[in-house]
């Protein structure tokens, strides 16, 4: 295997595995910056995966090649609706954020499978016919060395995810909305005093996380698993959550962390095709992302640096 071939395989599989994580982690960043801890990303992704697969199976004939993209959008909307549960519970009803998020995680897989059984009368769906597949940038793909590595047979959702990251970074740090959102996660009392609608901002944060998490789940389902079953999203949402923390609650950081986790995940899958890596027992590659997360948390963070009011209920006093 030539070096370029190895690198292009590594980059493309890293991108494929990173795309769902990037979207979902961005969602987590927005939720937590608004002050609502969202441990329910896993459940949100599951709902996104479920709905996009159902959409894809139903409408692949109608929409053809753009079906997966529309499926991602449907996944996002369903994720947004599902995250409403978390928003209402934590923002209006003073629920513990961790418990409420856990409810999303407990709820989504059985709900998805129940509906699959109700719709298709079996426990998991057929494989979709229109998946994301690989994409080559016209023109760019012909650049020597760089072209084959980054732009040939690459993952289109990953490139979209990177662009979305930059936009969301800009929104969070350079716009009035972003400033207000962050102020609700840092000091809701002060924000309230300044006339910012804390509840509204927190709703925005959670719903954005639901939308992006749903997209993340949809992309995972439509690019990687290809169908929906109870085990489609095992651990991806938690990985995204780790990427939020790893990336210090910053969109760019979360993206880089997701790329790293995507790399670690893809290594465990394509490792046997690569020189050097094929000598390492599979288990080390499988547990690497999780071990590295812990090590990084210990080495670089110590005391967590989450937004100050992250996870705390804000009760408006009259």
């Amino acid at each position: 295997m030539s070096l370029v071939a190895i690198l292009s395989l590594l980059v493309s599989s890293t991108f494929v595995y990173s795309a769902p994580l990037i979207f979902t982690a961005l969602g987590g960043v927005y939720s937590e910056n608004s002050g609502v801890t969202n441990i329910g990303l896993e459940g949100i992704m599951t709902m996104g995966a479920f709905s996009s697969i159902v959409f894809n199976l139903t409408f692949a004939g109608t929409f053809g090649k753009i079906t997966p993209w529309l499926g991602a959008l449907v996944g996002g909307i369903v994720g947004l609706l599902f995250s409403l549960l978390h928003a209402v519970a934590t923002i209006n009803f003073h629920a513990d954020h961790i418990i409420s998020g856990t409810v999303l995680n407990l709820m989504a897989p059985p709900l998805g499978v129940f509906l699959i059984k109700a719709i298709y009368d079996k426990g998991q769906t057929e494989n979709i016919s229109q998946s994301f597949g690989y994409f080559s940038f016209p023109g760019l793909a012909n650049i020597p060395v760089i072209g084959p590595i980054f732009f040939q047979n690459t993952s289109a959702p990953a490139w979209v995810a990177i662009i979305v990251t930059i936009i969301l970074w800009w929104v969070l740090y350079k716009t009035r909305f972003g400033l207000r959102l962050r102020s609700c996660g840092e000091n809701p009392q002060a924000a309230d005093t300044l006339g910012i609608n804390v509840y509204g901002m927190r709703y925005a944060g959670v719903l954005i996380s639901g939308f992006l998490g749903g997209i993340g789940g949809a992309i995972f389902a439509e690019a990687i698993s290809g169908n929906f079953s109870v085990s489609t999203i095992v651990g991806q949402g938690f990985m995204a959550l780790a990427a939020v923390i790893f990336g210090k609650w910053n969109p760019l950081g979360a993206m880089l962390a997701s790329l790293f986790f995507g790399f670690a995940q893809s290594i465990s899958i394509i490792g046997n095709q690569l020189p050097f890596f094929n000598h390492i027992p599979a288990v080390y590659m499988q547990i690497a992302p999780y071990v590295i997360t812990i090590v990084v948390l210990v080495l670089f963070f110590g005391k967590s640096v989450a937004p100050a009011a992250d996870g705390q209920n804000y009760i408006k006093s009259k």
Binding site: F93, H94, S100, L106, M107, F114, L241, Y290
Partner: protein, 370 residues
């Protein structure tokens, strides 16, 4: 708005949550054209209608009692231990391994040895998260989640690659354990219609009493609770936060490990490859939340969950309704527990006149100080 004492309210909130959870389940079933009355009646009749069903329900409750106690101990100390699945899994594999490797030891030695191995394995897994939190302040929610996956893949590896193949049936299943290391009691399971009920339930009842005694009657329990309530005040009072963090996580993991032990030595009599985190871990968390982390509450909540789960299997075969509805009901119940603030607002605290007087005095006192 009803006026009730706070004691009644403590009981009403979970009861209403349970009813609301069942209602959500019923609504979902109605939407998809299933008959909820038929579903719930077949659920209860298959879980409680015959001796086998009752035996299986008790059997199902056994590990949940352990994992729920594990969760409750950690949460009294202010930790959200989501690592129960991994801790239980480690306990399961360790206890089975000890029995398989020493089939000829006498039962009085082997069984306790295997149980202790399971406790230690669970405690080590939880202890890692506790130590990281105590030493470096690492967020235990993330570390315990990560440890779940590490344990999941490591157990797969340990069983498939490290365990001598003479102990295994094939790559995914170990041999059945010898009677010397089993928690099975023949007369008990034949009394309950040949169900898989086992001695684990006696251990679980002992654990419930121990848990009650530990938290309510001992200094250790008091320290754990006070560190959970207010770490700063506890430190000021001379309690070691680090020591209590470690202790509560070790105890928590030990109990979770026991949950895995009864699955292995009691229910299944072997270990087989797991592809996802153990159910008993997640359900234990739910049981502890529903039971309000009290000893009696945990016992009752574990039984309710088991009725749902065992009954759900019957419901699926008898009424043809997907089993998943059970898990949806459980999640809905926990959701209502989580928003108990709203449910609590349906009732007003009936305060004793005495308490009201004290409150007034305190307020007046505060006024004077200002």
């Amino acid at each position: 708005m009803l006026k009730v004492t706070s004691r009644t309210k403590r009981i009403l909130v979970p009861v209403i949550s349970i009813l609301a959870g069942f209602l959500i389940g019923a609504v979902i079933m109605l939407i998809w054209n299933y008959n909820p009355i038929q579903a719930y009646s077949s659920m209860f009749s298959s879980a409680l209608g015959n001796m086998n069903g009752i035996g299986e329900t008790i059997r199902e409750a056994t590990p949940l009692i352990f994992t729920a106690i594990g969760f409750a101990i950690a949460s009294s100390a202010g930790f959200f231990n989501i690592g129960l699945p991994g801790q239980a899994q480690a306990g399961w594999l360790a206890s089975i391994w000890v029995v398989l490797a020493n089939p000829n030891l006498p039962k009085v030695v082997l069984l306790p040895l295997a149980i202790i191995a399971g406790i230690v394995a669970g405690a080590i897994v939880a202890g890692i998260a506790g130590w990281l939190r105590a030493q470096f302040g690492t967020n235990e929610v993330i570390t315990t989640i990560m440890l779940n996956y590490i344990v999941l893949y490591s157990c797969q590896y340990l069983m498939q690659q490290i365990m001598p193949s003479s102990l295994r049936l094939d790559t995914d299943t170990t041999k059945t354990i010898a009677a010397n290391g089993s928690l099975k009691i023949d007369w008990l399971s034949s009394f309950f219609g040949d169900s898989r009920i086992n001695a684990g339930i006696f251990l679980a009842l002992i654990a419930v009493v121990l848990y009650w005694y530990l938290m309510k009657k001992t200094t250790t329990g008091f320290e754990i609770r006070s560190v959970g309530t207010n770490p700063y005040a506890s430190r000021y009072a001379g309690m070691s936060t680090k020591k209590n963090i470690m202790l509560s996580m070790l105890l928590s993991g030990g109990f979770a490990g026991l949950g895995g032990v009864v699955q292995g030595l009691g229910t299944y009599q072997n270990y087989f490859t797991q592809t996802t985190s153990l159910d008993i871990g997640w359900d234990g968390l739910s049981v502890a939340l529903l039971g309000g982390s009290t000893a009696v509450g945990i016992l009752l909540a574990a039984l309710l969950f088991s009725i749902l789960k065992i009954g759900g299997l019957g419901m699926q075969t008898i009424a043809g309704i997907p089993y998943e509805i059970v898990s949806i009901v459980i999640a809905a119940i926990i959701f209502f527990i989580a928003i108990q603030y709203v449910i609590g607002r349906l009732f007003k605290d009936k305060q004793s006149p005495n308490l009201t007087a004290i409150k007034k005095e305190v307020q007046a006192d505060n006024g004077r100080q200002k």
